[in-house]
């Protein structure tokens, strides 16, 4: 993969990788750093000659591993703790209505079990196929499908619908 192609990959996926990190770590600056690091790590693999079948899935996999590493280094503060400290993951340029909607959506996703949170984010926010999610999470596609169903059930309960 050439540098030019890699930049195209970056432009197409940077928001998605950033969002995935942000939902997991609840810290905008940290999410930016993690997304940046993920792209650099993937480039290192590409430049060393590693053949990558699905660069997008690989990118999410690297980002996920970096998030896990960062958890190990220091347990991240929860969203509530960050909000209490004046932190807001939402863009400051959003309208009041959009900010409220966003806060509700984030709160709901954060309340999901960890296993469902990332699967539902990858499936419905990023639009990845169960097969790709399976590759990222090292699971079988069937287990991913089962978890998607269960995650939706849990979300329904949280939304009381």
């Amino acid at each position: 993969m050439t540098q030019k192609k890699f930049i195209v990959l970056y432009e197409k996926n940077v928001d998605a990788v950033f969002r995935f990190c942000l939902i997991k770590v609840s810290d905008r600056e940290k999410a930016k750093d993690l997304a940046q690091e993920a792209f650099m790590r993937v480039w290192d693999q590409v430049s060393s000659g590693k053949k990558i079948e699905n660069p997008r899935a690989f990118l999410f996999k690297v980002a996920r591993n970096l998030i896990i590493d960062s958890y190990r280094k220091k347990k991240s503060l929860s969203l509530d703790e960050l909000s209490e400290g004046g932190f807001d993951p939402v863009d400051s340029t959003f309208s009041a209505e959009k900010t409220t909607d966003m806060q509700i959506a984030i709160d709901l996703i954060q309340k999901l079990d960890e296993g469902y949170k990332e699967i539902l984010t990858l499936r419905f926010v990023e639009g990845l196929e169960p097969r790709e999610i399976a590759e990222i999470l090292d699971m079988s596609p069937n287990v991913v499908s089962v978890r998607i169903h269960r995650g939706i059930d849990q979300l329904k309960k949280l939304m009381k619908i």
């Binding site: 970056y10 940077v14 930016k32």
Partner: protein, 278 residues
């Protein structure tokens, strides 16, 4: 309800980086890429007419492989009752099973089979498609896989693995199988709530058997270590201090020549009484 879900996910999709943030990150990335350029460039082969003609039959074969491979790949996600399920079990699994010839590979493959069946049961339950007939069939297959794992373990023993390292490798394989069954059990317990189930029982039995096999292997590891220790002790004894006196190397006996005169190179001077006064 669908709209409510969509609203949540659409809202989350608007969580993006600002244009400035993206540009900054891009610059950092370009700097990193320039510091570490791609070292390998794929060689471009010259394309001749001969190559193109030669490539045609190869292309036909490649197309066939692609189509068959595509069907086979698509079948991997199928479930009992699906059109492609027969391809998954009769073609894909038989081919992969045939490749697993060593007892180790067999244990690993049978573990995979059991895991695949458990995943299928779970997926069918979530889609509300699990019929008693399918459940019975899948239960039998899980039992069969568990039985084959135990047989393959016997074959591992029969291979004459005697070192503790060999047994440790076996233990890792069995642990892998046990962990897969335990994961499956967790998944099924979430699905099959309450009531007795032959399926759960068969997975539970397999876990029990594998626990027994792990314990047995652990005993064999200890035994192998003990045997090695004893052997080393005996070897030390064998190379201990020698018990017999070493023989002097034989020397060749030479018969003496009686007539031979001993040459006197520096005879003693004759006695002269004048030199020594009385």
């Amino acid at each position: 309800m669908k709209n409510q879900f969509e609203k949540i996910f659409r809202t989350l999709q608007s969580l993006t980086l600002s244009k400035r943030e993206k540009e900054e990150m891009k610059e950092n990335l370009i700097q990193h890429m320039e510091a570490q350029p791609t070292p390998y460039i794929q060689s471009q082969q010259s394309v001749s007419i001969f190559n193109i003609l030669w490539a045609r039959p190869a292309m036909v074969v490649a197309a066939l492989v692609f189509v068959i491979g595509g069907i086979s790949y698509a079948a991997e996600g199928s479930l009992p009752g699906d059109f492609l399920y027969v391809v998954k079990t009769e073609l894909n699994e038989n081919v992969r099973g045939a490749v697993a010839t060593s007892p180790q590979a067999k244990v690993e493959w049978e573990t995979q089979i059991a895991k695949r069946r458990i995943d299928e049961v779970s997926a069918l339950i979530s889609e509300d498609r699990l019929t008693p007939e399918i459940e019975k069939k899948l239960t039998n297959e899980i039992k069969g896989a568990a039985g084959n794992i135990m047989q393959a373990l016997d074959a591992l023993e029969g291979e004459g693995a005697v070192t503790s390292e060999d047994y440790s490798r076996h233990k890792d394989i069995i642990r892998g199988a046990r962990s897969s069954f335990a994961d499956g059990m967790t998944l099924l317990e979430e699905d099959i709530k309450g009531g007795e189930s032959e399926l759960l029982e068969s997975v539970s039995t397999a876990i029990g058997d594998l626990d027994g096999a792990i314990m047995m292997t652990e005993a064999l590891i200890s035994e192998a270590i003990e045997q090695r220790r004893l052997k080393e002790k005996i070897e030390v004894k064998e190379v201990g201090p020698p018990t017999s006196i070493p023989t002097v190397p034989d020397l060749e006996w030479v018969e003496p020549d009686k007539e031979a005169k001993i040459p006197i190179e520096d005879p003693a001077p004759e006695y002269n009484p004048d030199e020594f006064p009385q």
